[in-house]
């Protein structure tokens, strides 16, 4: 007696769906693999920050998961084969069994988790709090994947993944990395979307997510511009990454090692001004005044009192510098890449013109940041390139800059005494040394032979080949031994101009200074001229000073470096180089406007836009603009939707029906809007029986098309008959008349 209940074949599993919070039905095998892949990618992004044992544990867990997934596939295959035979009850019990096998026992997982946490706690002191936190995050992220039982577990996993992504941004922020993180975000969200539209392909879902994010970008950028930037709520553990770049101490071979790196050190933007000559671009970073016979190191300041004194002295000389010398000032902006050190770079002598907070000017014309530079930092400088500096030398400073351990390099000492005897004039003496280096067969190389005990004697008289630090060290030592106050300076020389070089007068672009531009030079103090910069490298390799690395040096660097694309190749392949420069320019804009966007800039932006105003006005403007932008977004989407709706034209059959209605209206039979089609047909039958047959047929077809589930072919057929019926109606109407 199944007269009244419609029987359809339904899988029994459908009934399980209302208990969706218990079983994650929709996480298909494909989705599970995608999730796994996504996890691997997320971990890969942050892998550099994890210690190797943690990486080992994580990869072990991931492999384990992959194995579990693989096993599940085998089981589902056999299940599919059996499913024709097995009836529903056995089927469901099979399913339960499968889940039991597919899942790792919670006790085992718990033990694993506890062991991992213990290991983390033990190593916490060593690696620092931040790294420990990140490791804990990754560890829980991987472990969570073992127990996806309910939908909420899946959600948690996705959110954890997003958090892993965002915390990876603590360590790196450059354009390429941000782009990678963004694309991973898209993949993560696409997997989440896949859960809700499991039937569409991953590619379409990725497209949808990109569309969603694209629409969000508008509001996000407005938020970025106007949302108030808050100061940190509490102290957070800082990243303890490897320091890069120059260091406090320099041994002769150090700079040569540094030049193997092709990493960016900083960028400088001269705006519309002419970029100085290459040989003028001595970016000063560290002044090394102490020499212990092996290495040069920074002079430690004795205490607050003296530093204050020196500061005031330095300021005095700088004010003097800026005021009286007729030297043209050079304004520029420097954007330093994170180096996890404190050194800032400047073309000495310089003063900070913009935001002075967090930047200290030292007495030796270098600048130091008050905090380790863990993300890109920018500052404005004004330099007076040819102005002399420190015309006065304090007694203490003179002592320090003449000191050298007696007997450390006896041959150089005797050579210095001979020089002192031969050349009375200080500058002539320095010139003589340079001449000596130039005349004798010295070699400039990235791979200098090793020196015993960093002996300068050995370099100067025996091996006779070295890099800039060798020459600068030997030269400074010679000067000190011959009674001239001298010191070693490290920094960068030159840089690569990236931009439009065609317009010589007002170029657009910036300088990029890489680690391989690292350099060391000397300064001697001459009465009446102050500290004079003397670069002994000029005596051995003039090309380095005037235009940068020679191709021999580049080739040498390529041989030492095991990067996939060496600098030499990059610079010699035109299109690769163009691409590299393009990307560098993009990255610069990114660093400048996104990474370096500060509260100050935000404030300036408002000032530029609206003029100076009270804080509450600003707040109102922010609030109003946020609200307006949100409503704009909503309206925009609404309009898009409306347009789409309008674009869909009425189907042919709908038009026929409406035409018929207008024809009837002409006859005086009008259809009230609320009336159903059938009721109206009845009304027509009563009012004009001649039209009834034709119109009733039309109405029936219309109803069928409206409310019946039909295939496309059937629809077309009925639409065709409707056309005929409409013509019939017209025919009868004509006959009536």
């Amino acid at each position: 007696m199944n007269l009244f209940t419609k029987q359809t074949t339904r899988a029994p599993s459908n009934h399980l769906e209302n208990s969706k919070h218990k079983i994650n039905v929709s996480l298909t095998r494909k989705n599970a693999w995608l999730l796994w892949l996504c996890q691997c990618l997320n971990i890969a992004v942050i892998a550099l920050e994890l210690s190797s044992w943690m990486l080992a544990i994580i990869s072990l867990s991931l492999v384990w998961q992959a194995l579990l997934l693989h096993q599940n596939r085998d089981r589902s295959k056999t299940k599919q084969q059996n499913s024709y035979v097995v009836n529903s009850k056995q089927h469901s019990s099979d399913k339960i069994k499968k889940q039991q096998v597919g899942q790792v026992s919670p006790i085992l997982l718990g033990m694993f988790a506890v062991l991992g946490c213990l290991a983390l706690a033990v190593t916490a002191k060593e690696v620092g709090i931040l790294t420990t936190m990140v490791q804990l995050l990754c560890f829980s992220y991987v472990l969570k994947a073992f127990e996806i039982k309910a939908r909420s577990d899946f959600y948690q996993l996705i959110l954890l993944g997003l958090f892993v992504l965002s915390s990876s941004l603590i360590f790196r922020q450059d354009l390429a990395f941000s782009f990678i993180v963004l694309s991973l975000l898209v993949i993560n969200l696409a997997i989440l979307l896949q859960y809700f539209s499991s039937e569409s392909a991953l590619v379409t879902n990725i497209k949808v997510v990109m569309l969603l994010l694209g629409q969000s970008i508008l509001l996000a950028s407005i938020l970025f511009l106007v949302f108030p930037r808050l100061s940190p709520f509490w102290q957070v553990p800082k990243a303890k990454s490897n320091e890069t770049g120059l260091s406090d101490t320099v041994k002769p071979g150090d700079i040569a090692n540094l030049t193997r790196s092709t990493k960016l050190a900083f960028r400088a933007d001269f705006g519309q001004q002419k970029v100085p000559e290459y040989s003028q671009l001595y970016w000063r970073a560290v002044v090394l005044e102490n020499y212990d016979g092996r290495q040069w190191s920074k002079q430690k300041s004795d205490g607050i009192k003296t530093t204050n004194k020196i500061d005031s002295l330095a300021k005095k000389s700088l004010i003097f510098d800026a005021g009286t010398t007729g030297v043209n000032p050079l304004n520029y902006q420097v954007v330093v890449e994170p180096s996890f050190q404190k050194y800032l770079f400047a073309l000495a002598p310089a003063v900070v013109t913009g935001d002075k907070s967090g930047i200290h000017a030292e007495s030796d014309f270098t600048f130091i940041s008050s905090r380790n530079i863990s993300q890109a930092k920018s500052y404005q400088l004004t330099s007076y390139l040819t102005a002399p500096f420190s015309l006065e030398l304090t007694q203490k400073s003179k002592q320090v800059n003449l000191k050298y351990p007696k007997g450390s390099n006896p041959r150089l000492e005797s050579f210095a005494q001979q020089l002192q005897h031969d050349y009375v004039d200080v500058q002539a003496r320095a010139q003589a040394v340079l001449m000596f280096i130039n005349k004798e067969n010295y070699e400039y190389t990235l791979q200098p032979p090793l020196l015993e005990n960093n002996s300068l004697d050995q370099f100067f008289f025996e091996t006779k080949s070295g890099f800039c630090a060798h020459y600068a060290s030997a030269f400074t030592f010679l000067m000190r031994a011959s009674g001239i106050p001298a010191r070693m300076v490290t920094g960068y020389l030159g840089g690569e101009f990236n931009g439009d070089t065609a317009q010589e007068a007002n170029p657009e672009g910036h300088m990029s200074i890489y680690q391989y531009d690292a350099h060391a030079w000397s300064e001697i103090w001459v009465v009446g001229r102050g500290w004079l910069r003397i670069d002994p490298t000029s005596a051995v390799d003039l090309e380095r000073i005037n235009s940068g690395w020679s191709s021999e040096l580049l080739q040498e660097q390529s041989a030492l470096n095991d990067d996939l694309l060496s600098l030499y190749q990059l610079k010699n392949t035109a299109w690769l180089n163009a691409l590299r420069l393009q990307f560098d320019a993009l990255d610069y804009q990114w660093t400048r406007w996104v990474i370096g966007f500060t509260t100050k800039q935000q404030y300036n932006l408002f000032n530029d836009l609206f003029g100076k105003m009270a804080a509450w006005k600003l707040a109102t403007i922010i609030a109003v603009s946020l609200i307006v932008s949100i409503t704009m977004l909503m309206l925009f989407l609404h309009l898009i939707n409306r347009v789409k709706q309008k674009k869909i034209p009425l189907a042919k059959w709908q038009i026929f029906y409406h035409k018929a209605l207008t024809q009837l209206a002409k006859q005086g039979i009008e259809k009230p809007t609320g009336m159903t089609v059938n009721d109206f047909a009845k009304q027509v039958r009563e009012q004009s029986p001649e039209l009834a047959i034709a119109f009733t047929r039309l109405s029936t077809s219309y109803n069928r098309l409206c409310y019946q589930t039909l295939t496309i072919n059937e629809q077309a057929k009925i639409a065709l008959t409707m056309q005929q019926q409409y013509q019939q109606l017209l025919h009868t109407l004509k006959q009536q008349q």
């Binding site: 009244f4 992504l165 965002s166 809700f196 949808v208 629409q215 969000s216 970025f224 589930t709």
Partner: protein
């Protein structure tokens, strides 16, 4: 006491107000089109935790003074809003048409309420179920609703006879990232008439009587008893016919599957009387009647039904007749009997 009863009263008041508001806002119709009038959209629990997560990322960015992380948090926050709009547009413009407002069936049977969904574009993750939680209907999911029309059957199953108003139908979607639940509660005016479940009567358990005051009392016995009904012909078996009427002899001989047809003598209308059914429980008695009604209809015998003691009460007593409509009327009377 008042302290405890007050919230209850309050709750009831709110519920009533909500219902009133709903009937004004979404009145009962055969067909509904989703638009901003009848769609409710609110964040799910995941949506709220997502917001908390975004706040956490914002904190991370602020504490590290990291613009990229801040930008990411803004992007995620804006995504929340765009997802809301996408959720809404995924859900709106859908049309729901209920093909049957009323369904009948026996207690314990599954009743199907077909609902036709028509879409102008592809919609995702459409879920339907009856709003009334006590109905305990399963949630029907349409993972992807392509352009065109689809049919979904809502299932209703009840073990108690009677006429049940099924209330509204909840339709919801968590599409785009599960952050928002777009929901609507449509009223199609669904109701179900549940007949008593037929319980078969053994032969001789009940003697069918004609109404004593009008016609001579005839006894009813199940059709296998000879003598009462005159065997008229053998017809080839049609699916759905009662097996009780299978001509087993012919089948066993291999002559084919036939069923026996009887012709009861006309004019001898039988009356099915509730009080005369065996047992004390009214429900069981009704179940027996339900069985008999089906049997008599299947064998094409006219019968009447007497539920209340008062004679000629038209609402509970149905005068003898035959056919499908009569069967329906009788079963409905059984279902509605109080």
């Amino acid at each position: 006491m008042t302290v405890f009863s007050l919230p209850k009263l309050f709750k009831r008041l709110i519920q009533k107000n909500v219902e009133n508001w709903l009937t004004r806002r979404i009145p009962c119709k055969e067909e509904h089109q989703l638009n901003s009038r009848n769609i409710m959209i609110y964040p799910t629990r995941f949506g709220l935790s997502y917001l908390a997560f975004v706040a956490l990322v914002f904190l991370l960015g602020t504490n590290y003074q990291n613009n990229i992380i801040l930008l990411l948090s803004y992007l995620l926050a804006s995504l929340f809003i765009s997802v809301m709009l996408h959720s809404f547009y995924n859900f709106s413009q859908l049309r729901f048409y209920s093909k049957a407002q009323q369904r009948q069936g026996y207690a314990g049977d599954e009743l199907f309420f077909p609902i036709q969904i028509s879409a102008n574009k592809a919609h995702y993750d459409i879920n339907l179920h009856f709003s009334d939680k006590t109905i305990n209907s399963s949630c029907e999911r349409v993972a992807q609703c392509q352009q065109g029309s689809h049919e979904v059957n809502l299932i209703y199953k009840s073990s108690t006879r009677g006429s049940h108003a099924l209330g509204r139908v909840t339709i919801f979607s968590e599409y785009s990232l599960g952050l928002f639940k777009s929901k609507t509660i449509l009223d199609f005016g669904h109701y179900a008439i549940i007949y008593p479940k037929p319980i078969s009567l053994n032969r001789g358990q009940y003697q069918l009587s004609s109404q004593s005051d009008e016609q001579s009392i005839d006894s009813y016995q199940t059709s296998s008893i000879e003598g009462i009904d005159d065997f008229s012909e053998l017809k080839s078996f049609v699916r759905g016919e009662s097996r009780a009427r299978t001509a087993w002899k012919q089948l066993a001989k291999g002559q084919g599957h036939y069923s026996k047809h009887y012709q009861s003598s006309q004019g001898q209308s039988k009356w099915l009387i509730l009080q005369e059914m065996p047992g004390n429980d009214v429900e069981i008695q009704l179940s027996y009647l339900s069985f008999l009604v089906n049997e008599l209809t299947a064998t094409n015998q006219p019968f009447g039904i007497v539920l209340s003691a008062e004679a000629h009460n038209s609402s509970t007593n149905i005068s003898p007749s035959m056919g499908f409509a009569h069967q329906q009327a009788c079963l409905t009377a059984l279902a509605l009997y109080r």
